[in-house]
């Protein structure tokens, strides 16, 4: 097992490369989800404000 | 022509125009874009004098030698036509090996020896397990390590 993690002496290069790629995948997923959610929340707020105005006038 | 077709032609012409412009620019700067010189070019004096250049080629088999009591390593770099001796004392990359491509950064001295400050290994695009490489070598097939494509630099 420790032999596996040693990567034949290239552990310092192989694992960071896999780690950074994993981070990039995660960041993409989370950023896309956040973008969709925030857009929806912002537009919902705008919609409520608009219809509120319409009622007041 | 409908406006849509007109836009299609416009977009097509634009991309083609940019491609031609970039192509011409790359062609014009071909020499400045040269990443390394081959031994043939370096010996013919095509490389700028008194400036650091990169020398690329293959480490000749059996040419890596070290003078006793000296840290300096010497090896011959070849492009299958001409050969230049490289002198280097420093850390070598893992893939440095006889028969393997290298790129050395440095200057040619008065004796025609290339004084390298940095040596990089060039590797090929072949990936295989060691057993397969061994079989291929014993079968007398084309060796799994072809010489680096130095000829591309000669164009």
């Amino acid at each position: 097992m420790s032999e596996f993690f040693a990567m034949g002496g290239y552990a310092n290069y192989v694992w960071p490369a896999f780690g950074i790629t994993a981070i990039v995948l995660m960041v993409n997923l989370l950023a896309a989800r956040r973008q969709l959610r925030q857009t929806r929340e912002r537009l919902q707020l705008r919609l409520v404000r608009q219809s509120g105005k319409r009622v007041n006038t | 022509m409908t406006p849509r077709r007109q836009r299609m032609v416009l977009v097509g012409l634009f991309v083609a125009g940019v491609a031609v412009a970039v192509g011409l620019a790359l062609r014009a700067f071909q020499e400045n874009l040269l990443y390394f010189y081959t031994p043939t070019q370096a010996i013919a004096g095509e490389a700028p004098d008194g400036k650091k250049i990169r020398l690329g080629g293959m480490v000749q088999k059996g040419s890596v030698r070290r003078e006793p009591g000296d840290l300096e390593l010497r090896f011959d770099v070849s492009d299958n036509e001409k050969t230049m001796t490289v002198a280097y004392s420093g850390v070598l990359p893992d893939l440095f090996k006889e028969g393997q491509g290298v790129i050395a950064m440095g200057q040619v001295d008065a004796n025609g020896i290339f004084r390298a400050e940095e040596v990089l290994a060039k590797h090929d695009e072949n990936y295989m397990p060691p057993e397969v490489a061994a079989t291929m070598a014993t079968d007398g097939q084309a060796t799994p390590v072809p010489p680096p494509s130095t000829d591309a630099a000669l164009n």
Binding site: T21 | R4, V18, L95
Partner: protein, 251 residues
């Protein structure tokens, strides 16, 4: 013949379809990436020259491939947006840029981590590396150009022109290793003659590339949904979706 094309390009249809598609893209992507990583890290044998160090290929090549594939997608979408005046196409192009930029960065960083032990250097100003760096700047330029306009139509058109101009860089990246003698080796997979990579090492790579592609499509679908909703805010269907009064909210 074109009806499916325009139906697909209709925003409400796209919004609904993309929503139901996302899990069907992202879960298989996850599965493929896990299988590919296991194959690449555990199953594949060590290389005859690079030992275990070559395993970086399993993240470097898929990232590099996506960096270019996403750019082509972006440029094609931008071109369609310009020619047919399809807003959805501009939304796709705009959504591609942040994804492409991150994978370009991943390709560069994993490449540096591979280059250091094997070549002996993190970075060289050689053709392949330099043209890939230019790709990163093209993505950055595209994104900042988009944000420079207040008017969405102007932003769409100006950025589309930049995306189309930059697309010439993609073949330059791909062929840089063949056109100029640099430090980077030639292509292993797309070579026409004898395979340059043993099958045991190849299959995890292909699985990873497929996984990354599905991942990109899934994330792209999510982003485009947000973009479309924003652009279609004044339409009835979008407001129905926002009120939760629409069955479109499947995803």
């Amino acid at each position: 013949m074109w009806t499916w094309f325009f139906q697909l390009a209709s925003p409400p249809h796209f919004y609904r379809m993309a929503g139901s598609l996302v899990p069907w893209l992202l879960w298989p992507a996850l599965l493929l990436i896990v299988i590919g990583s296991w194959g690449g890290l555990v199953q594949a044998p060590a290389d005859y020259q690079q030992g275990d160090g070559y395993r970086i290929i399993y993240v470097h090549v898929p990232s590099s491939y996506l960096s270019m594939m996403v750019y082509v997608t972006m440029a094609v979408a931008a071109g369609i947006g310009l020619i047919w005046r399809i807003k959805l196409a501009h939304a796709v192009a705009a959504s591609c840029a942040p994804i492409g930029a991150t994978f370009t960065a991943a390709a560069l960083v994993t490449g540096m981590l591979w280059g250091k032990p094997m070549w002996g250097t993190y970075w060289q100003w050689e053709p392949r590396l330099t043209s890939e760096l230019i790709l990163l700047f093209l993505y950055f330029g595209y994104m900042s150009l988009r944000s420079a306009f207040n008017d969405l139509n102007q932003s769409d058109r100006a950025s589309a022109v930049l995306a189309l101009a930059g697309v010439v860089n993609v073949p330059i990246i791909h062929f840089s290793v063949l056109w100029w003698a640099g430090l980077h080796q030639g292509p292993s997979i797309s070579k026409i003659d004898a395979p340059s990579i043993a099958f045991d090492m190849l299959w995890p790579l292909l699985v990873m590339i497929l996984g990354f592609t599905l991942f990109f499509l899934g994330v792209l679908a999510m982003r485009v949904r947000g973009e479309v909703l924003e652009r279609e805010f004044h339409s009835r269907w979008a407001q129905d979706v926002l009120r939760g009064a629409s069955p479109m909210e499947a995803g």
